[in-house]
Subunit: 384 residues, 3 copies
């Protein structure tokens, strides 16, 4: 549509599949929202998808309250998967149902062929073999085909000076969907704004890694059986780990959630997330006592302390690293139904002796990444 | 055949599918052509394909005048695609018809399966992700499968001292067609002479990149609607760019073509191409006025000035680089039906503001590479 | 089974498909074999497969004497392919029959689809393009799909400190079979002990490369028509070449075999293999006269002298390298039915002039690697 009259607030909540096409961001402001660009960004972050074609911004408001939108055969609400913030509990719940179907598909011999004839390009500007193999397995388990590159950096800006936008315009000519890993925050959104085919963010630098966030929530639901009312202990590097930040963000969409932060002083959870949780009425507290937290929680989510965050302060790294280890002692105080999660890879922050305990959920969690990615590929290419 | 009686001239023009098998190049000379080896090479460049098995040279003359040869089900005239010089206007025209069919195939959901069961090996001795993805997409769009390597150099001469010939003999055992990129001029021909399966040259150093040449000519025909009588401005690095050299060569096969060379003094078009054009009756002129050329041409073919050609003379590079930019001003003098082309990647020799103009054809040109490669794979593996 | 009463000796020879599950290696010893761990290892090397799940060792004894076990539709005797020592002549003979069938399958147009829906992960911790392409071609020729990584090292211990075991647990969630190349001896066995899906060793450092050993024996049978009674000359670097060591080991399973060792003094065959051959009643001798050996042998198996084994002693390398060359002179004394083999890549230890002689079997040998790998993939995934 060439113009639209709704206000910022109604845009976010009530107008499904409403499109506003404007020539410039400033037109967009004038015609569509009485807001400045920072609000535009905020708006998009919560309920909209947008595309930039040339200098045009195309924006679509979503009403995720309507359950009809999840019926079989319906178009998927998202054009791209860029950020955890695109998802609310209704769409998460619907995606998780598809992921469950994928678990049965994966087990059938001969595989499934619903994506036969579709081509996925895995455009990785930095290597991440684990994530790449998970996406490529997802595509192939559904009968699709893959074009792979792990050295995308070589034919990009870095090597010959080509812009990301030009690269995307070329690669979209060869494929039906792009899965992109990039070293720069915001790169995935730029790719999505350029591409006329779906883009999935497989991690962009310190920015987002939305499929990891989704598989974490999916794993909690699969393991514990619910999301409302759960108690989650987030352990380790909470300052730098994007997985725990995204997870905290998504958990805030559920009711009566309680979050415990257990981390060395130097890598504490930052204020932005704490304030966000408070604003959503989510209870949280910081604790230095892993044993006590473990005894109360449904989920102990351990993370790796990353050496590269400490620069030359090896002493601080060594201190931080050894502080909170999930071992047999921690298991012994955990409840029977509780689980240990970890985004992997792990070093020694979970000892190997924990692996055999049925409550060690981290390899099942990695496997769930396959099902979530199968579901997203199916939804973006075929719809519900 | 063990011998053949035709002369050099008739060989090139009149004897279709005639084979001469000789034990040594000198025998070849004696039995088949009253020419020295430089003429043999010339002959081959224009109308023949040859294979070397062990020390044997096998040569097949083509009569490209016969249109029957392009009928459905007929064998493709070429065993390999090594050089732009293998193509004349009849075979180009027939290949372009197949490429047009490929455009419709690519759009069909579910893809096409005519190459099901065929395996293409992409043997890249230097990375060229763009070209590789284009070939691999072409193969997969037709139902074929791909074996990929971008570090072929590691299992080749460079690493352990194996010859290219030995590598080819091994890889041909694993695949049905080889797409090779190499850093040395002439490597593709050596591979083709060794292999018993088709070889496509995806660029060999400063030498040839024939599929790029074909997609350029195809794009002109698609965009302008004809090749006879067109006016083409070649802009930028004309000394080193193999694309503009090959394009000039192929355009000489059409009637009433006019070529304008617009380039900084240090990277002017070399005399060999100018002489060749003159010998073929093609009009050309050099100009320093991009605006004037742009106003007359059907095609403005811009190229990147490559920094690596200037060594330490950064001053010369900077001067050359900024001299001829295609921007909105250039667009404003161009005719309505004219187009801007570029082999990509581009830096700032075409400004981003040009992208939105419908006359910006460079991303369509990149996409045409897919159709040309689909056509060549089909023709080499299945015939017409 | 929770316990088993058989002794070490009967275990190896008579009890087919008998399983012993024990909680610890020491239990295994107590319950299953009256042997220490070195004997357990020895036992396994000869006739058993085992898996470690957590701290559990699961061991299965094989009775390879029973020919019923090779009937169509039966389960394959091996869970993994880790070492040449897993094979005896009965199972080799049965595998070779399947490889022969694969030769006909490979020639059929449209390929074969028996592995459709199966996913193979090629997990290469060091690049080996030749071996990787051979495995991937094998999988794709049978309709299967492949997940490729040649930089596995980056998401492994080396990069972030993850253990091989953790990597395997993740990758087995994405695939149906793992083909692994590693730089450390013993890595393949560790992977097989962890994985719940089949693992094929595609070379682990100075350790094993069993599919190479199998294709060598297969090539001798295909070329000479028999294995009993053959005379084989092993030439070149016999100290470091794992292929000649494995080949000598496997040839000891046949009757009336005679082996000649022809090598520079510095890279002589080591005593362990010589003692093993003697213990098996295999005749062997060392010779410095390649011509005399070549005139007697059915197979002249040449190998490359590896420069990297000599460190800074370039003089020793140059001396060793030039000493035994297979050229036209060697061919001239060889019998008409005899063949020259080489694991490739070759430098100049076989001159190019030899290539054209029908007795040059090395490129056919490389191709046989495809058939052997097709056979193993089929057997591990589908059984006989």
């Amino acid at each position: 549509m060439s113009s639209c009259a709704f206000s910022t607030s109604t845009l976010c909540e009530t107008l499904p599949n409403h499109e506003a096409v404007c020539k410039k961001p400033s037109d967009f402001k004038k015609n569509c929202i009485s807001a400045d660009m920072s609000q535009l960004k905020l708006t998009w972050r919560n309920s909209m998808t947008w595309k930039q074609t040339g200098s045009r911004l195309k924006c679509r408001a979503l009403d995720l309250k309507s359950n009809d939108a999840f019926l079989k055969g319906q178009v998927f609400q998202l054009d791209d998967v860029i950020e955890a913030q695109q998802f609310d509990r209704e769409i998460l719940s619907a995606i998780f149902e598809v992921a469950r179907e994928m678990e049965t598909i994966e087990k059938k011999s001969g595989g499934n062929q619903i994506l036969k004839g579709y081509l996925m390009a895995t455009l990785f500007y930095e290597p991440s073999t684990r994530t790449r193999l998970s996406f490529e397995s997802a595509m192939k388990r559904l009968g699709g085909e893959v074009l792979t590159t792990e050295n995308a950096r070589e034919f990009s800006s870095a090597a010959k000076g080509e812009t990301l936008e030009d690269t995307i315009r070329t690669v979209e000519g060869y494929s039906d969907i792009i899965v992109m890993r990039h070293f720069e925050s915001g790169a995935a959104r730029r790719a999505a704004m350029t591409a006329n085919i779906p883009v999935i963010n497989a991690g962009d630098g310190p920015g987002q890694h939305p499929t990891q966030a989704l598989l974490d929530v999916y794993t909690i639901e699969r393991e514990i059986g619910k999301l409302d009312g759960i108690k989650v202990g987030l352990v380790g590097d909470l300052a730098n780990g994007r997985t725990v930040r995204s997870l905290a963000y998504l958990l805030a969409k559920y009711n009566d959630v309680k979050i415990y932060f257990v981390s060395p002083e130097v890598v504490k959870m930052k204020d932005d997330i704490k304030e966000y949780l408070t604003s959503k009425g989510i209870k949280w507290e910081e604790s230095a006592d892993l044993m006590e937290v473990a005894s109360k929680c449904d989920v102990v989510y351990q993370t790796r302390i990353q050496r590269e965050r400490f620069g030359e302060r090896v002493d601080l790294y060594d201190e931080a690293r050894g502080k909170y280890i999930v071992n047999r002692d921690v298991l012994s105080v955990m409840q029977k139904h509780a689980v240990v999660m970890h985004p992997l890879p792990r070093l020694d922050e979970i000892t190997v002796e924990v692996d055999e305990d049925p409550r060690a959920a981290y390899f099942r969690q990695a496997k769930n990444g396959l099902f979530i990615r199968m579901a997203l590929l199916k939804l973006l290419l075929l719809g519900w």
